[in-house]
């Protein structure tokens, strides 16, 4: 089959590779129909995640058809149209049984990396480096899914492929971000990052009763989409001081819930924003020298802006160490931190119901549908945020 392989920093190529086969009794093989890019792939492609190996197939947000299944798969049939949650649960360990699927004890076949770096290993993720299991990704004609009964979900008839594909990752990640904010009626929610996950967090915040939602970005078409599609007010951090603006919009209180949908490659704003240009140079310099793996500009800003006693909900991805973390502000303001990779399996059913009822229509995230052969160019466009690109989806 054809698959998109990572061969080194910013070196993606579509190559011929063997077809996947059933390796465990709970596996299924899915014929990929749609497979989306994701912002978190950019960290891998750019070499910020150290356990990528040349030849790895990337991609983790996908929809397809069950074409083969292992003898212990009971809830799926050949021909089923399914989405697969990007983060793999075994369904049996204590964490999976408590719906914390991304903390699964068993799905990562290469736990030594994470145990050394993080103290414990977490779940395997498709196409997401060997620290997260080294599973082959979905930018391919076929993909093998372990523990298929736990991780594959049939798509209801009333939901289109273009809507469903994002229920693999972007929608549940945004939904979980809002869920972790424990939003109460009257709450103001600020979301850093107006990409796919950020916009889903905005929509979800409204579904959970937020009074106002404020989206923060600097890419004009993303700010426009956050306004038009997600119903948010928006702030362009390259033009305004975010702290001043958020306090002005909230009577000096600050947002009740701050959501990080950016992660470790944040930048700190325009030179006009006071003091932040120096902070950005500092973080970029340290990251380039590998003295700091992640740039925490969004985290620092959220801590500064958040209402006293408010909640920070972090779904933007971090991989390693940060520094200059304003712990004094966080502690004295009694902030709550919630974070994690998505527990998508917990939310899929609820999300399909929202989509069927018309509460939520993630299909607009799909701005470009391209052939798999054009995937390297697709990633380039996505990275440069060119041509109003929100998400490129490949159709093998």
């Amino acid at each position: 089959m054809r698959a998109l392989c990572w061969n080194g920093v910013n070196d993606l190529r579509v190559e011929r590779v063997p077809d996947p086969t059933i390796l465990g009794p709970q596996d299924a093989i899915i014929k990929v129909g749609l497979s989306s890019v994701c912002g978190s792939d950019l960290h891998l492609i750019g070499g910020h995640v150290p356990t990528m190996r040349a030849g790895d197939i990337i991609g983790h947000e996908f929809l397809g058809e069950v074409v083969e299944k292992g003898p212990e798969v009971t809830r799926l049939n050949r021909g089923d149209r399914v989405i697969t949650v990007s983060i793999i649960g075994c369904g049996k360990c204590w964490h999976c049984r408590h719906e914390e699927f991304s903390l699964c004890d068993n799905s990562n076949p290469q736990p030594a990396f994470e145990e050394a770096a993080y103290g414990h290993c977490t779940a395997g993720i498709f196409g997401y480096s060997h620290a997260f299991g080294g599973y082959a990704g979905s930018h391919a004609e076929y993909i093998r899914v372990p523990f298929a009964d736990t991780n594959c979900f049939r798509v209801p008839e009333g939901v289109t492929d273009e809507q469903a594909v994002f229920v693999s990752d972007a929608v549940p990640t945004g939904y979980m971000a809002a869920d972790m904010g424990s939003i109460k009626p009257g709450d103001v929610v600020a979301v850093w990052g107006c990409g796919g996950v950020g916009q889903m967090a905005m929509k979800s915040s409204f579904l959970m009763g937020a009074e106002r939602v404020i989206g923060i970005d600097r890419v004009p078409d993303r700010l426009r989409a956050a306004q038009m599609k997600a119903g948010a007010e928006t702030l362009d951090y390259s033009r305004v001081d975010i702290y001043d603006a958020l306090l002005a919009m909230t009577g000096g209180r600050g947002p009740d819930v701050c959501i990080d949908a950016v992660g470790m490659e944040a930048d700190s704003g325009a030179p006009s924003t006071k003091g932040l240009a120096i902070e950005d140079l500092y973080d970029r310099g340290k990251q380039a020298l590998r003295l700091e793996s992640d740039r925490p500009a969004v985290l620092r800003q959220m801590i500064q802006c958040c209402r006293k006693g408010g909640t920070l909900s972090i779904v933007g991805v971090y991989g390693g160490l940060i520094d200059k973390f304003p712990m004094g502000a966080a502690m004295n303001k009694a902030l709550t931190f919630r974070m994690g990779q998505q527990h998508g399996q917990r939310y899929v059913k609820r999300l399909f119901e929202h989509i069927e009822k018309g509460d939520l229509d993630p299909a607009y995230l799909l701005t470009h549908k391209w052939a798999l052969d054009d995937a390297p160019q697709g990633y380039r466009m996505f990275k440069e945020k060119a041509d109003d690109c929100m998400r490129v989806v490949f159709a093998p």
Binding site: P20, L23, R53, C90, K92, P109, Q110, H130, A136
Partner: protein
């Protein structure tokens, strides 16, 4: 491979096999520890030791005194702990069936039951070198504890304990595996590393992880045999997988 048991008697001025292996293994361990902690000094020391060992440079008096005591703790005791979401009686029964243990310790080839309390174990080291020992059960407390020790003449003399305790809050069973190695030439843990190519801590931890995965999900999740852009260039087996066990 068993030459490490010569106890380190050798002519002055040339590094003995034991010392060379200790330097190589210790150097590797220090190198990795250094890399993990981002400590160049530790990595460099490890690299130096490794090279000294590989080249047979005698690490005579001062350096040997400084570097080797830490590597020569006798016996080397290692413990691994894991919580398994399965009741203790089920885990106990599984462990008592020695046929199941080969799946936990991949170096194990065969276990032969000699009597109610004695058994004969055959394993292999790198390059298929046979490692053989006889083992006797000391204590067996139903659903709680199994202890054993190896008998005279074992290639890998050790004592072992596996303990099953109910975990709080319905989390299943806490399992502890303790292995104390007493190789006749000293250098406890290194001898194990030398015999199996895996550090003893890692061996114990991996064994309990396999037990957990087999008992909780009924299979060992794997990526061996999946496609990649490497497969076309020869072999789809993951090198990382070999390293991690």
């Amino acid at each position: 491979m068993t030459s490490g048991r010569d106890g380190g008697r050798r002519p002055e001025g040339s590094a003995g096999t034991l010392e060379r292996w200790a330097a190589i293994l210790g150097g590797t361990a220090l190198g990795f520890a250094g890399a993990r902690r981002g400590s160049w000094a530790l990595s460099a020391l490890g690299g130096g030791l490794f090279l000294a060992g590989a080249a047979g440079v005698p690490l005579s008096s001062p350096l040997r005194q400084a570097a080797l005591p830490a590597l020569r703790r006798e016996p080397t005791t290692t413990q691994a702990n894991v919580t398994i979401a399965v009741p203790a009686d089920k885990l106990f029964r599984h462990w008592r069936n020695v046929r199941h243990l080969a799946a936990l310790f991949p170096h194990l080839d065969a276990v032969e039951i000699l009597s109610d309390t004695e058994s004969r174990w055959k394993a292999h080291g790198p390059g298929g070198v046979p490692v053989v020992w006889n083992s006797r059960l000391d204590k067996v407390r139903e659903n709680e504890l199994i202890t054993w020790h190896t008998l005279e003449g074992a290639d890998l003399p050790h004592r072992g304990t596996v303990l099953f305790r109910q975990a709080p809050g319905g989390r299943g069973t806490e399992v502890s595996l303790t292995l104390a190695y007493h190789p006749p030439g000293g250098a406890g843990g290194d001898a194990v590393s030398r015999l199996f190519g895996v550090a003893p801590e890692q061996q114990a931890r991996e064994a309990l992880r396999r037990l957990k995965r087999i008992m909780e999900v009924g299979e060992l999740p794997t990526i061996d045999g999946q496609p990649s852009g490497r497969a076309e260039r020869g072999g789809s087996r993951s090198r990382m997988q070999e390293v991690t066990g």
